[in-house]
């Protein structure tokens, strides 16, 4: 029997990532905070209720339309804290830099982190830098960890998804992934399509202060909307149905998907949130989201149902309903 190796697909956010977490990480680290399996952990320190999270960033290209690895590293962690129902406060930044990396690029990345932190109203309070030999890393990798204060009266948890709730998506899908992939695949995008990378904490905090009843918050990053919905359905043992007709995808993004054979439902986003809320609070939630630049196009895309438990269905444009499953690994450009 051959030794099992880690494949790229293990890092895709799909079924293989889940398998890695379930079989390797969870047995080693299992505890109540981790086992909730949310974007961030909820912990109590000396009576203070905190959210704590970490995220590593290895994007290629490092600089792209609408952002760079630095902005991504700050927004990613800030958003994870927001999705846990917390007010984001402090971040750490760890850099792993390849020997020979241009200092000017490092300055650019760091400056963009400074700006993103300013915009998100968080402080980077500690950090670390390591340099590895040429070839041992690809340019630069950044890890950020973050601490936030859980918002009083709010209880965000994937297990709280239940039948009858509406599912809100705050904007169009796939802009980030498509921006990143375009360059790799020799596509040129029009200037209006850029990464949606953005700190969502301001918008989410206002939402939570006004609608504390919000049940679940997730940001559909790696693995996209389909993966996030599957995770929630499985954690809550509820069903989910979304309507293809209501899911916003920019025509340019759709064009890239058509060219490369990708499905926008699995593409990564860096500035979108998926929100589960009771129908009585839906209009209020939408009204608040729509006032924000990152939530202008927010809309209801589906509902939580009782059955089929743990699964997600998609009502298609022509009216059929079919399973919307998680992918085993990465989407590959396919000609078939």
């Amino acid at each position: 029997m051959k030794e099992e190796k880690i494949l790229l697909a293990h890092g895709s956010g799909g079924k293989l990532s889940q398998k890695l977490i379930e079989e390797v990480m969870r047995p080693a680290f299992s505890n109540p905070a981790l086992d909730e399996m949310h974007d961030g952990a909820k912990v109590t320190v000396n009576g203070a209720k905190l959210a704590f999270t970490t995220d590593s960033h290895v994007v290629k290209p490092l600089f792209f339309a609408g952002g760079d690895i630095g902005k991504l590293a700050v927004c990613g962690t800030v958003n994870d804290l927001a999705m846990t129902g917390a007010k984001a406060l402090y971040l750490s930044a760890g850099f792993i830099i390849e020997e020979g990396f241009p200092q000017s690029d490092l300055l650019r990345v760091v400056d963009s982190m400074r700006q993103a932190a300013f915009q998100a109203n968080v402080t980077i309070v500690t950090g670390d830098t390591k340099v590895v030999e040429k070839g041992a890393a690809d340019g630069i990798y950044i890890n950020t960890a973050g601490v936030g204060a859980l918002i009083e009266g709010v209880n965000i948890s994937p297990q709280r998804a239940c039948s009858g709730q509406n599912i809100i998506l705050t904007g169009s899908l796939g802009d980030h992934a498509v921006t990143i992939m375009a360059e790799r695949h020799g596509l040129t995008l029009p200037v209006n399509i850029t990464s949606d990378c953005a700190p969502l904490n301001g918008m989410i905090e206002e939402l939570l202060y006004n609608v504390p009843e919000i049940a679940v918050l997730r940001d559909p990053t790696r693995g996209g909307l389909a993966t996030v919905l599957n995770e929630v359905a499985s954690q809550a043992q509820a069903g989910i149905i979304i309507n293809e007709m209501d899911i916003p995808v920019n025509p340019e993004v759709m064009a890239v998907c058509d060219m490369l054979g990708y499905d926008p439902l699995y593409l990564a986003n860096e500035g979108k949130a998926v929100i589960f809320v009771e129908s009585v609070h839906t209009d209020k939630a939408l009204a608040i989201l729509k006032q924000h630049v990152y939530g202008r196009n927010a809309k209801v895309i589906g509902q939580v149902t009782k059955d089929p438990k743990g699964q997600v269905g998609l009502r298609t444009l022509v009216g059929g309903v079919r399973l919307l499953d998680m992918l085993p690994g990465d989407q590959l450009p396919r000609i078939c």
Binding site: H185, M254, M259
Partner: protein, 74 residues
């Protein structure tokens, strides 16, 4: 293994076309449809234009579908 998309040729240099869909552009070879001109719609597969799209037929199909959509109303 037969995914292909219709796109418009917006530039042509020898056998290499720049094709466009909704503002997204990429390069495609027209070796397999050497008669293609700028402005033509072509079907693109694996980096090659493999056939010209007959715009009249495309419009006809679309019109028919729109008509059928009305049919339900009556």
């Amino acid at each position: 293994m037969c995914l292909a998309v219709p796109a418009q040729i917006i530039k042509l240099q020898d056998m290499l076309a720049t094709i466009e869909i909704n503002g997204v552009t990429r390069q495609a070879s027209i070796m397999l449809v050497p008669e293609a001109k700028v402005g033509d719609y072509v079907l693109v597969h694996a980096g090659f234009a493999i056939q010209l799209v007959d715009q009249e037929e495309a419009e006809r199909t679309m019109e028919l579908l729109k008509e059928l959509a009305q049919y339900e109303d009556q």
